[in-house]
Symmetry: C2
Subunit: 235 residues, 2 copies
DNA sequence: CGTGTGATTGACGCCTGTCAACGTCTGTGG
DNA sequence: CCACAGACGTTGACAGGCGTCAATCACACG
């Protein structure tokens, strides 16, 4: 994927059938297109930081971004990941507040920056876009509420199994059943909300129980049903 | 407050300066007004339940509602409270999904029911309303994210102190510094995400430490600064 | 006065966070 | 090419926070 694709075709992130931009009329698409700027970002780059003022939002053309908050003692809590087609930073733009999360590139990415004014223009002029955006935020809200319930009621073991399943659903696996996302043990701990050592021990137990196989940061899922059982998920 | 107030005046929940309805034009206000229905609900009444289909949302004229999810073992996790001027159930309406929370009356309430079609009409026709609604959902999302971080990183003790402060800010106190909301120990536990017994023991410790005074379900705050310190809040 | 719900207290033990030491791997610079 | 630094992963020991179970108390209500 070359960055010049923006010039050749309307970026994927703005054009696919599931995109929040799917209900724009041609003129609006042109406007978004003309006012957006795409750039490459390499792993480890910070897109924006907590407390920073943000004047526009980003649409993800490719790559993976992690979005986290910093707790009072400096520990990261990963809130969500964003991948191809997702948008980030729009919350701060809408609320006209300082960013309350930090976002960092996990896997080399191409992001399209869209100014806040464009966002406001679309909301005020296209009801279908507003509705789609509302649905998107509501979906995030529902996921956050579910996670609150899990983290408050489930054990670390259950949550870790659940997170592996969630990563499985969100990013999929390659032809060897290996998760298409690579995270450090610390990052896994920062999703689950536990200590790095606990993640290491539990992953090792999961391996013993034939739920997964491990090879460095690669996680291969062996038994989805058993993972669901471990996570206490019945659906 | 008599329920017939609706007839006498535009309901508070739709008319105050902070309401999401504040940017409606007169015609739209009339429409909302004509299509809404207000009713009284007594403590303990369930407004809607998880898994139920919802065709409209509610605007709270008076009283307090608790909104919770049920964990896999049946334990409640309280997600938030709603009070005068707040709206509930709009998420399910917008997403056209079954309710994923249950809401129950904590304190006798008057709710105004507004059909989903009215909501969609407003979103599609009034950009300022859409924007206000988006801001509202974003605010909820930000609060949910903060709570995820807290619950994942803080101890039960810290969270309980934080919840008391949060109730203090949200519902205020009477002239004796007693919180304007009355919750059972179990409900407190279901916010914090812990066992009822733990809440009892910690409240008792807070009392010993002169942070609060207790009298049944009444909680009197004695030292906000010390509570903040206990909660590890520095702001 | 019996019944039921909620509050309290105590005992007990396990899950899990913390600390410390060590192993592994990668990239860098001499 | 090797040595070293630094980041990351692993393992063990240990304690304490907190969940669970059980018994008792307090209070309201029919």
């Amino acid at each position: 994927m070359d960055i010049n694709d923006k010039i050749e075709s309307f970026p994927y992130c703005m054009d696919n059938i599931n995109s929040v931009f799917r209900h724009l009329i041609p003129d609006e698409k042109d406007k978004v297109y003309n006012e957006s700027t795409c750039s490459e970002y390499t792993r480890g780059t910070t897109i924006y930081r907590e407390g920073q003022r943000i004047n526009g939002f980003y649409c993800i053309q490719s790559g993976i971004i992690k979005i986290f908050k910093t707790g009072f003692d400096g520990k990261e809590q990963i809130i969500r990941f964003a991948k191809k087609g997702d948008i980030i930073a729009f919350r701060s733009v809408l609320s006209a507040e300082l960013a309350c999360t930090t976002s960092e590139v996990i896997e080399d990415s191409i992001l399209c920056y869209i100014p806040g004014d464009t966002l406001f223009y679309l909301i005020k002029n296209n009801g279908n876009f507003s509705l789609d955006l509302l649905k998107l935020v509501c979906k995030e809200l529902e996921e956050a509420n579910s996670y609150i319930t899990d983290i408050a009621q489930k054990t670390v073991r259950e949550r870790l199994a659940e997170i592996i399943l969630h990563l499985h659903d969100t990013f999929g696996v390659n032809n060897e059943n290996i998760l298409n996302i690579s995270l450090t043990r610390e990052e896994l701990a920062n999703i689950v909300g536990t200590a790095t050592e606990s993640v290491i021990r539990l992953l090792s137990e999961f391996k013993t129980d034939k739920l997964i196989e491990l090879s460095g940061r690669k996680i291969k899922t062996l038994n989805i049903q058993a993972l669901k059982k471990t996570a206490n998920i019945y659906s």
